[in-house]
Amino acid sequence: MISTKAKVTDTRKLAEGIFGLTLSTKAAIEAKSGQFIMVNTKSEAHLLGRPISICDIDKENESLSIVWRNVGYGTKELSTLKEGEEVDIIGPLGNGFPTDEELIKGKSITLLGGGIGAPPLYALAKELSSKGVKPVVILGYRSESAGLFLKDEFERTADVIIATDDGSAGVKGTVIDALKEHDVKSDIIMACGPMPMLKGIKNYAQEKGIDAYISLEERMACGVGACLGCVVKTTHKDHHSQVNNARICTEGPVFEAKEVEI
């Protein structure tokens, strides 16, 4: 991980309230899918970095792209950045999704992304496909009119199934409804999205006896494991904390679903 200034090389609006940036930074060299960066605002009144997951990684050109939903001051400020401006970042942070050959080889892998949980799965889908394990990606959105952001990008690297809350595109319902309706064969599930969805996936994986890796989020201050703000209850004693708490920023954000109490 490094603490550095990163130059904005591209900005984009993907849907209403959904924005993206490409950053030129050496943090890309070590980055893995499922990791995140802390991005500072320029405001002296808003001092905590914003944890934002990495959507795409270009190691050769040392650039990272991030995609977020505007929810508060920090994200709104980020969406006003222009090409050529610089931001302070720390990263890459966290463990990322597991993509070891021995784990994924010959397996059916399903990626589930709910809303703004989709972006971190993009770099993962590309990585899995490049390793010869083309995943099925199920993306959940509010509605077609609210924007099926990143759908086209995912379709270039994976088999994509869409679910929408109102049924305006794909399956009506959640990503889990779509998973069941299409009867997608999965040996391993990897997912990111809102907590109710992740709880549903944990239960589904338990019922079916399959492995599920879920990316969690929590309010955090440092992003590097120092403040102990962003812990999750764990099934077993965590090696670092010596209690049943793991740091989402450091031991996570990706956990095996059965290892965490959510």
Binding site: M1, I2, S3, E44, R219, G223, C227, Q242
Partner: protein
């Protein structure tokens, strides 16, 4: 130019350290910050046994600051000695261990265990954490209770002891005097100020603990005032902290009477905050022809 300061007989290469709880044990930041440059590293509070801390959410941003209610989660003294203190042995900086407990016995147990640890220069006794319901701040808001715990710890401590004071009191001068009269070698202040934030859409508290400790630049003027009052009231050294972000802030605390300073919440914003403060102090000394940093302590 001499940036060395003396805290009760311990020489620090410069007056800049971190505030406990904002820098882990240094390990978490070692890839981004040259720990050898720091005057001291103050480790996150450690108890006799592992503590789970509070439920989440534990942190939230506030204007120019943050609220936290971690609840002193820590791995316990055994793991701390084996892992964290061992890690710090390879660095050329002074180590100050922050000690917490639910009871006098628990504080004393940790202090005794640390007695044999040669790379620990000082102990900072945390009697001012607002986020644990037993111990912690209970010892730090009444002068009599503060004297009692200070005496108990001092009796068993092999290292110099720093009592970390709470700002959540009526008279900080009275608390500083109580610590001094009970034998404290130094005091550090301020710990966080108790605060609260409400989510008006959910009609509930943002932090699971309801209240949390406020830190960051928002509290700086309160901290400067308290460091000034405390340092006027006692002869023992004062370590000043509360919202320090820049060298100018650090110098302000030293002019108010602090012999050394700690950067807290700002480490989260900028991991290089402490080394930037050290660079800035040197620049200020050069520009203002200050030969010895000790000459500015308490000049106001």
């Amino acid at each position: 130019m001499n940036t060395q300061v003396d805290i009760c007989g311990i020489t620090l290469k410069n007056p800049v350290m971190n505030a406990s709880g904002t820098f882990g044990s240094g390990m978490e930041y070692a890839s981004m910050v040259d720990l050898n440059r720091l005057g001291a590293i103050v480790t996150k509070g450690v108890a006799n046994k592992p503590w789970e801390g509070n439920p989440t959410p534990r942190v939230t941003e506030t204007p120019s600051g943050m609220l936290n209610a971690i609840g002193l989660q820590n791995p316990g003294i055994d793991t701390f000695i084996e892992r964290d203190l061992e890690f710090l042995k390879s660095y050329d900086t002074k180590v100050i261990v922050n000690v917490c407990g639910h009871s006098e016995d628990e504080y004393v147990e940790v202090v005794e265990r640390l007695g044999d640890c040669d790379n620990v220069s000082m102990l900072e006794i945390n009697v001012s954490c607002p986020n644990v319901h037993e111990g912690g701040i209970a010892f730090g808001t009444q002068p009599e209770a503060l004297e009692k715990i200070t005496k108990a710890v001092k009796k068993k401590a092999r290292q110099k002891i720093i009592m970390k004071l709470s700002p959540n009191v009526t008279s900080i001068a009275e608390m500083a005097k109580a610590a001094e009269s009970a034998g404290a070698d130094a005091i550090s202040l301020i710990n966080t100020i108790t605060g609260m934030k409400i989510d008006i859409r959910k009609r509930s508290f943002v932090l699971a603990n309801r209240t949390g400790g406020l830190s960051g630049p928002a509290i700086r003027p309160v901290a400067v005032r308290m460091v000034y009052e405390a340092s006027k009231a006692v002869k023992i050294p004062v370590i000043g902290m509360g919202g320090i972000a820049t060298a100018e802030d650090a110098i302000e605390f030293m002019m108010a009477g602090a012999s050394a300073v700690a950067v807290g919440m700002y480490n989260f914003h900028s991991p290089t905050a402490m080394t930037d403060v050290i660079d800035g102090i040197e620049k200020f000394m050069a520009e203002n022809k200050i030969q010895n940093i000790q000459d500015i302590i308490g000049v106001v």
